[in-house]
Structures are given as C-alpha cells and as structure tokens.
C-alpha cells in the first residue's frame, strides 16, 4: 500500500471477469482447506483407533506428503508462473526447502544414527 498503489477505473466486463475469477479461486481455497482439516482428522483418528504401527506410520507419512504439496501449490501459489517478482519468490521457497532438507539430512545421518 505504498506510492505505487493506484486506484484504477475498471470496465464492467473486467469487473465481472475478476469477480468470477476470484469466486473460483475462493472455492478452490476453501476446498483445499477442508481437505487439509480432514487429513489432520484422519491422522488423529488412526492413532486413537489404535491400529497397528505398520499401518499408522505409512498412512501418516503419506498424508503429510500430500499436505506439503497442497500447502505449496494451493496456498503458496507455487504453480503460478507469471506473478510479479516470481523469481525472488521461487528463490525464497527453494532456499527454505534446502534449509529444511539439510536439517532433515543432519538428523537422519549424523545426529540420530
């Protein structure tokens, strides 16, 4: 909201188009959000229901993997190719991934085993 925010006049057609587009976006976000809540619920449920660990562990890991993908693509817009500063944004995301991966690697290789 700085000096380069301009209030633009929009034509009616443009307004209607944006409105529709936003509504579709919104629906997508809500559905994805619901899916994530459901996944979390399933994760809790399998633990509470006391299934065998050989079932629980892969299921939770699988759900976690899907959640990461959803997070990145649905909520952090990784799929978008043309946003302003997309290069910087991608750099940040990948940097975060590299750092997180190093932690993971560290724990698996030199710290715990």
């Amino acid at each position: 909201m700085g000096h380069d925010t301009h209030v633009q006049e929009k034509s009616v057609a443009q307004y209607e188009f944006n409105r529709k587009k936003n509504a579709v976006e919104m629906r997508k976000q809500v559905v994805n959000f619901a899916i994530m809540i459901l996944f979390t619920f399933i994760a809790f449920a399998v633990v509470v229901a006391d299934f065998s660990p050989y079932f629980i562990k892969p299921v939770i890991l699988l759900l976690a993997g899907v959640q990461v993908a959803l997070q990145l693509y649905a909520f952090m817009h990784m799929g978008e190719k043309k946003a302003p500063f997309i290069g910087v944004i991608n750099t940040f995301v990948w940097l975060g991934a590299v750092i997180a991966f190093t932690f993971f690697l560290c724990f698996l290789t030199i710290i715990w085993w």
Binding site: M1, H3, H6, G96, I110
Partner: protein, 630 residues
Amino acid sequence: MSSVAISKKTGFGATLWDYLTTVDHKKLGNMYFFAGLLFFAIAGFEALLIRIQLMVPNNDFVSAGLFNELLTMHGTTMLFLAATPLLFGFMNAIVPLQIGARDVAFPFLNSLGFWLFFLGALFLHLSFFMGGAPDAGWTSYASLSLYSPGHGIDFYVLGLQISGAGTLISGINFIVTIITMRAPGMTFMRMPLFTWTTLISSALILFAFPPLTVGLFFMLVDRMFGANFFDHTMGGNTIIWEHLFWIFGHPEVYILVLPAFGLFSEIIPVFARKRLFGYSSMVFATILIGFLGFMVWAHHMFTTGLGPTANAIFAVATMAIAVPTGMKVFNWILTIWGGSIKVTVPMIYALGFIPSFVAGGVTGVMQATAPLDYQLHDSYFIVAHFHYVIVGGIVTAIFGATHFYWPIMFNRVLNEKLGYIVFWVFFIGFHLTFFLQHFLGLMGMPRRVFTYQADQGWDLYNFISSIGAIMMGIGVILLVVNMLLSIKGKPVNQRDYWGDGRSLEWALVTPVPFYNFKQTPLIRGYDPYWIEKHEGNKEGMTYAEPLGDIHMPHGSILPLIMSIGMFIAAFGALYHPDGVSWSVPVIILGIGITVACMILRSFKDDLGYHVHKEEIIALEEELYGKGGNK
C-alpha cells in the same frame, strides 16, 4: 516529532491517539526505539543486581531463586525485547528512506508487529508481579523448565509466542518492502548495506522463528495441557527442545548482528569519507553468513553426546562462518585505510567495535573446537564470548547509530562531548566487566551460579567485573540524559547533517514529511546522494516523476485491539493448568476479539487516501519556508 503535526500544537489525547493508530514507519520506528530502550534499561538493571550479588563471595544480596529469575529475564529481555526492537527501530526509521519508499509494503502489519511485540513483552514482565518470573535460563531447556514450579515458564512461553509472532510479521514486512518498494534505479546491487543486512536478517527471521514457534508450542502443551513431547519418562525426548531452540537460536544471533554490521557499514564510509571497500564482497559475505548460520546450531550441544561425527562436522561448519565474517572485518579496515578520517561519536563506536568484535569472534572459533568446548562449555568463558559479540558488536552499533541517525529521526543532535564521555565510560566498563570473565571461565567458574566460595582465585576478578558493570550502567544513564538534553536543543532543519552522507536518507531535509519523498527519486548509482552532491545538484536527488498526488495509507486502531485479544487469551492459557473454571472462556474471548478484528479488516476495504499536490506544496512551505524543499 518528524511528523506532519510539526507546527500544529495538538492536545495530549490527540497525540496519544495518533501514536496508537499510526501506520507511519517513522513513528513506528520511534516507538520500537523507545520500547527497546525501556526494556534495555530494565534488563540492564537486572544485570546490575546480578553483578552486585556476584561482587563478593558468599553474598546473600538476592536469594538463589530470585537470582535465577533475574538471570533468565535479563537474557530473554536483552535478546528478544531490547536488541531486536532497537534494531527494528532503525530498520523502520531508515530503510524506507534508503530505498526511496514512502512507507513499508504493509503499514498495517507494521503496526500489528509492533503491538504484538509490545504486549508480549508486557505479558512476560507481568510475571514479576504475578507469582514469579521464569527461571530456567533464556534457553529454557526442557529438562529444567518442565519441572519449574509456578507460572514463570508459562509466562516465558506465552510471552515469547506473542512477541515472536510480532517479530515474524515485521520480518516478512521488511522482506516485501525491500523487494518491491525500491525507487526506480535502486537495483539490488545499489542498495546500501544496512538495507541489505535488513533484508538478509529478515529472511533469517522468516526461516528461524517457525522452529521456535514449534518448540514453544510443544512446551506449552506439555506444561499446560499435559502432553509429553519433552518428557522422556513418557516416551518423549528432552533433547528435541534443545535442537528446536538452537535451530532458531543460532540464526537469532545473526539476526541481531547482521543489522549491526549494516549500521557500521553505513557509519564507516561516511566518516572515512571514502566509498565502502569491497561492496559486492560485503553483500556476498552477508548472504553467506545468513546461510551458514543455519548449519551450525549443534555447536551449542557438543556436550550433549551427539557423537564424534556430528561434533566434527558442526565444528568445521562453525569455523567456516569465520571466513565471511573475516571478509567483512577486512573490508571495514580497508575502508578506513587511506581515508580522510573524521573522528566523531558514531565513528569512535565503530573504531571500538572492530577489535571488540574480533575478540568475540576469536573466542567463538575456540568454542567451535569441540574437544576444547568440553572444557569451556557452561563456564564463564562462554559468558565472556557472547558478551563480546553482543555488547561489542550489537550494542556499540546501536549506540553509534543512535548518534548517527538522531538528526534524521528527531531533527535534533546529541551532544558530542557527552557522547565521548559515554563512549569511554561504557567502553572501559565493558572490557572491565567481560575481559576477566574469560579467565574466570578457564579457572573453572561455572556460568549461572548465584554465588561462590571465597579463595578460589575468583574473588578479585569478580569484584573488578562488577565495577565494570556499574560503569556500563553509568554510561547508559548518561546516554539517556543526552537524549533528554537533545529535546531542548536546536532543530537541525537541514539535509546531510554530518556533511559527508552518501546514501539516499541524507538527501532529505529534516524534519522528514510524513510522505518522505514529495517526488519519487531516481537512483543513478550506488551512494546516490554522493553522486548528486558531486554533480552539484542542490536538491540532493533526481526525480523519477513530476510532482503529483501522493497515495498514503490510513491509520488504524485494529492492530492494537488484535494484540490485546492475544494478550487476554494468554491469561486464560496461563491459568488453565490450575483448573480454574474461567480459563477456557477467557481463551475464547481473547481469540474471539482478535478474529473479530481480522474479519472486520477483511470486509472493510481501506484504499487509503490521496494527499493533493496543493497540500504538499503548502506543507513543504510550512516546513522549509518559501520555495519548499530545495
């Protein structure tokens, strides 16, 4: 002070309301600065009490329990609630001016970040009056803190959670501001180093605070809701807290020291009257330090028994950070080298900083040597090390920058003579306090002890150390006196107070109007003001646009109310383990207030307003006389 209300005298109520609702980065910068100063004073007072207790052996000035509380609150406050906001104060006040922006990218979030930080800090400090402060050290290791009676640790967890959210929000705001709000021509490789270090340190905040949030959240549910993440008797693991804490904690020390480096990289070229030596290597070193800062956390855990492989790898990684840090030190020295040096108060802080910080870096590399760290760990040597980097690096930067930027921030000057006195009292006090602590550590004095037996060879050094601490206290009081005296001083009313300014902020005549730049500047190279000055440009900058209407954001009280909501919810969570009936309703009430504000905010479109050309011209005439800012 540097606001539009400069000449219109307004009532106290109106001024207060103005500050509670402001989204202006300059006012928020001042608020961060003074809030930071307040907590710096509180934590400094705690440090004095600690040093009085340790002045003589077998002292009973404070009890062991109170000592632990003072120690914990001193460390926690200094790092999270004093150093961080003081640096945020400078970032807010200076960075938008350096990049030619009229405000930060998200002014509303800027204000929210401040209020979350402030109320979180207030919450933490209420612990003193509500049954005892946290007492498990600023690191709050789970094996100790889970068993701490009373609510102290709960205050720590909740207070840091709230103020940490504020810090994270501010960090994101700075990243977006620096990436998207630069004036035309301000490419990345023309950004001043303070802007660069702010960007990198904000990126570190972005990546480092989430692990802390997770750790604090685990601690919260362990203590307040009966979970067992860190309880080994229930299958948890107490070491996980240490990992989470230090994955955050080591980047945190760089979050603080990088902006300090940035401040010195601004001060030194101005008073050496020479372009910063090795600009691009400075940028590269900043990025490299930021990245490596994430790869070394386990050097705080050598003695937990990670095993030789892990210790060796983390030792080498830690030593590697000394390389880019060394690059910076050499660049500063080479900037001074051959310059036509003008010694001023900011410069003398810079000259004191270089050797002090190098001493801290050298002891850091010693500690990074894992086998030696088995000897040094948890001794006074560690205390000496981190105070050399924190006081010698960060506090000197803050004090130096206070003198340096006072004309821009408040349109006044700090007294130079008193400035020198403060420097010498503080600097000598600092070395007296901490230099001998290296040897206390080597002689076996453990860290975080509330007293010690006489005749172990520690008595004299501890006594001298306490004298030094009192000198530092006097120095800080004199600095505050200097600030108060400046209120009575003459307004500066000019650009480039030091006469040798190089970056864009010096091109502005103070007091800076609330929109900063009446026309967005065009940046024609590194050190833009210096370029314009040497081409004889009397206006200090080339403009990228004609004079026109300026779009500015509205103020809002919502950030304060949102933060108060979190503050209320925290009390509910705090008393939940006591089994009181009102705890859950209070949590719901508090979070409800916050969520209601969020909903209100998202449904009410606030598009800001326009300052019209005529108003700008009128205001400029009022501030600078006929002809406006020329």
